[in-house]
Point group: C2
Chain length 402, copies 2
DNA sequence: CTTCGTTTGTGGTCGAAACGAACATAACCT
DNA sequence: AGGTTATGTTCGTTTCGACCACAAACGAAG
C-alpha cells in the first residue's frame, strides 16, 4: 500500500515558477492568520511545515506590507523561549454590501473576519439598481467615516440575491429584486475606484459558514438557508465551494422531496423549498391564531393545531431532504440558517432522528447538524471574504497599495 | 473588477518548498502527456506557461527515467523549426483488477491509457476473497507473460463493487460479493511485492470517463452507470472527484425520484435505482414475449406492450432524475453507462427533452448528455489510473525503480 | 535567592535547487 | 536568402533549508 491519491486534480495544466512558491507561501500564511486568528510563529512553522527561517522572512514581508503585526507572546507557562504572536491587522479592511428587497446593508470587515462598522438603510419598496447604488454609496461614506484613521480599504464584496457572473460583476438575474443584466459591480467600482467582487448571497454565505461559522474546519459541508423567498444553499466539497460549470451549482432548494407535493415556480413539483416553506408555516400559524410575524418565534413553544402538525410535517420533510442530500455529498457537517435554523432548534431530536433513519447507513451517523452562528453578520462576513480573496491569493501583489 | 477567486481552496495549510516546484512541474508534464497523448515540446511550453529551457530540462529528466520518449516532429506544414513530440512510454504499465460477482478480470494498461493485454476468468459462483485472490494472481501471471520484455509494472489498481477504505486498501463492505472487512489490497500487495491501490468501481469509472472517456475535458461531470445490481455513479466537480468526508459521496442511485415509488433496500422509497431498473425492464420484456437476456438489445427497436411503455416510463424517470441532479451540480456533461447508456441510445430525444423541460432554466440548456465510450475497458482503465496516481503525482520519486 | 542547565525558539549567513533570460544555432517554409 | 519557430547552453535571480550563534523562558540545585 502507498500514497493515497484521491482528491488530486485530474486536469493538470499550469506550471509553477520559482516565485510562485513565494506567492503560495505568503498566501498560506496570511490566509491562516486571517481565518484562524492570531497564531504564534512556532505554530505557523508547524502548520505549514516550512523552515523557521522561511517563516521569519515571510512574516517580515507581511508585516512590512501592513497585513499582520507581531505582538508579545502569550504567557504560556511552558518551558522555552516564547514565540511572538502573528496577528491579522485590523487596519486592513474590506467593505461588504448586501442589497436586498427591503434594505441595503453595508459593513466594514477587518482582516480576521471581525465586523467593525455596520450601516443599514431600510427601503419603502424594492430598490432599483440605481437607487440601491446611491444608497450603498452613501452608506459606504458613513461607514468609512467611522473607521479609525490609517485603515486601508482593500476592496468591496457584494452579496446579491440572484444569479451573478462573478468574473464581470454582472447581476444576470435577481428575481426578487427585479434586476436583470445589471453591471452593478462595474458601476460600483467606477464610483469608488476600488476593486469590486460580486457573488450570489447563498454562495457568499456558505463561505462565511465554512471559514468563520458553524462549519469551521469542515472540508465537506452543506449549508441550507431558509428565508421568505425560499431555500438557498451551498456546498463545500473537498475544501472548495462547489461552483459548477456555469457557477450555478448548489441549488439545494430545488431537490425533490415529495412527488405529490406543491408545484414549484421552477417548473417541477415537490421541491424542498415548496414543502419546507416559511409561508406555509405562517399560514398554519394564522389559522391557529398566531400572527404570521410571530410564527417563527413560536416554533419552540407548544402551540395549537394546525400549527403544531405543520411544524412537525416540515421538520420531517426537511430531515428527509437532508438525508437525501447526505447520500449525494457525504458531508461532515450540515449547517441550517434562517428559519431552518429555528425549525431545527424547535425540533432538533425529530430532525436528527429523521436524518438518521433515512440516510444511507454509515453516512448519517457521523454528520454534525448545526444551526448557523454568525446571525445577521453572515452575509457581510462572506461578502468581505469575497473582497479579501485577491489579497489572500497574492499578498505580494498588494504591497504597493498598502 | 479584478481577479476572480472562486474555486480557491478555503483551507490553506501546507507550505511549499522550493523542490516541490520541480515535483509539481514534472507531475504536470507527465500527467499532460499521459492524459492527452503525445504532445510537442512547443505545445507543452504553451500549455504549462513554463520556459522552453525548463520544459527541456524536465523532459530530459522524464525521458531518462523512461516515462516518456521523444520522437520526430509531425509533418506540420507550418513554417519554423519542427518541435519533437513527447510520447508516453508504453513500457510503463499498471495492472488493473476487477473482481466481480461472475468473473475476475485483469488488464495491463500502458502509460497513455491504452489497454495492452487483458485476461478474464468467469466463476461459477460469487468468489470468496481468497478465491478471487488466487484467480487474480494467476491471471496476473498470464498477463505479465504476454507483456513485451523491458516493460516495468509500476503498481496495481483494483476496482471493487463496494465500499473501500482507499488509504489502507481494505474492502469494508461489498454486498454483492458478500465480502466484509477484507484486507484485499494488503494481501495482493504482499503476494506481488507491488504497491496496490483499491477503489470503488463507480469512483474508478468516473475517473476513466473524465480522463479518457466521453467526459474528456469536462471539469464538472456526472457519470451514471446502470447494471443489474443498481445504479452507481460519481461526480467530478471543479476537476476533482467528489469524495465526501468518508469517501462515500456520489451515491447518485439513491436520490429520490418518486415518493410513490418502490421501496429500496436503502430504507427509502422511490430511489432512482428502484425506478429506473434493469430487472423491471426485463420483467416487462418477458411479459411482452421478449427474453430477459434480449431486453437491452431490444431497446432500440419497436416492441410490444408492456415493454414499450416501461421503456418510456424509465426514460422519463431517468430524465427527471438527471434534471434533479443537474440543479445540484450544474455539470458540463452527463455520461450514461451500462443499460442507462442503452436506454439513452433508444430514447435520446425523449430523455433530452425531459431534462430540458425539468431542469432549472439555464442549466439544462448547456448540458452535454452522452453515452459512455470506453465500454468494457472502462473499469480497467480507471483502476489503472488509480495505480498510476502515485507516479503521476511524483515522478521523481520513481526514478530509482525504473 | 541566585545560578546554571535544559528547552524552545529567533536571527543571520551560506549553499543548493530551480526557473527565466539571453544568445547562438538548427530546421522548416516561401 | 530571408523570415519564422524552436532547441541548447550558460548565467543570473529567486527562494528555501541547514547550520551556527544567541535569546528567553522554566526549574532544580546550591
Amino acid at each position: 500500500m502507498s500514497i493515497p491519491t484521491s482528491g488530486s486534480h485530474l486536469t493538470a495544466s499550469a506550471g509553477s515558477r520559482n516565485e510562485q512558491t513565494r506567492r503560495h507561501n505568503l498566501s498560506t500564511l496570511l490566509t491562516l492568520v486571517h481565518h484562524h486568528g492570531a497564531l504564534s510563529r512556532a505554530e505557523l512553522t508547524k502548520l505549514t511545515g516550512l523552515n523557521r527561517s522561511t517563516i521569519g522572512a515571510l512574516n517580515t514581508e507581511l508585516a512590512a506590507a501592513g497585513f499582520v503585526f507581531e505582538s508579545a507572546a502569550l504567557e504560556s507557562g511552558t518551558v522555552g523561549r516564547p514565540s511572538p504572536m502573528v496577528n491579522p491587522s485590523a487596519g486592513i479592511v474590506a467593505l461588504a454590501i448586501n442589497p436586498d428587497i427591503d434594505a441595503i446593508e453595508v459593513g466594514a470587515v477587518g482582516l480576521g473576519g471581525k465586523v467593525l462598522v455596520r450601516a443599514r438603510r431600510a427601503t419603502d419598496s424594492v430598490p432599483t439598481p440605481d437607487e440601491a447604488l446611491d444608497i450603498a454609496l452613501e452608506l459606504i461614506e458613513d461607514v468609512r467615516a467611522q473607521l479609525p484613521d490609517g485603515v486601508s480599504v482593500i476592496g468591496v464584496g457584494v452579496a446579491v440575491p440572484g444569479l451573478v457572473e462573478t468574473s464581470t460583476g454582472m447581476v444576470t438575474r435577481a428575481p426578487h429584486l427585479g434586476w436583470q443584466d445589471v453591471a452593478w459591480g462595474e458601476q460600483l467600482s467606477d464610483a469608488l475606484g476600488l476593486p469590486v467582487q460580486v457573488g450570489n448571497d447563498a454562495a457568499v454565505a456558505v463561505v462565511a459558514v465554512a471559514v468563520f461559522g458553524a462549519g469551521q474546519g469542515a472540508a465537506d459541508l452543506m449549508y441550507l438557508n431558509g428565508s421568505a423567498s425560499g431555500i438557498g444553499g451551498g456546498v463545500i466539497a473537498g475544501g472548495t465551494r462547489l461552483v459548477g460549470a456555469n457557477g450555478f451549482a448548489g441549488e439545494l432548494g430545488h431537490t425533490l422531496v415529495n412527488s405529490e407535493g406543491v408545484d414549484c415556480y421552477c417548473g417541477r413539483t415537490g421541491c424542498l423549498e415548496t414543502e419546507v416553506n416559511l409561508n406555509r408555516l405562517q399560514a398554519a400559524a394564522e389559522v391557529a391564531g398566531i400572527s404570521a410575524a410571530d410564527a417563527v418565534a413560536q416554533l419552540g413553544s407548544p402551540a395549537p393545531e394546525p400549527f403544531e402538525s405543520e411544524v412537525d410535517r416540515e421538520a420531517d420533510v426537511l430531515a428527509h431532504g437532508i438525508a437525501n442530500l447526505i447520500s449525494v455529498f457525504n458531508p461532515e457537517a450540515v449547517v441550517l440558517g434562517g428559519f431552518l435554523g429555528d425549525l431545527y432548534g424547535a425540533r432538533q431530536e425529530r430532525i436528527r432522528a429523521g436524518v438518521l433513519a433515512d440516510a444511507f447507513a454509515p453516512l448519517g451517523d457521523n454528520v454534525r447538524i448545526e444551526r448557523a452562528r454568525l446571525g445577521d453578520e453572515l452575509l457581510l462576513v462572506g461578502a468581505a471574504e469575497l473582497a479579501f480573496g485577491p489579497l489572500l491569493h497574492d499578498p505580494s501583489g498588494w504591497k504597493a497599495q498598502a
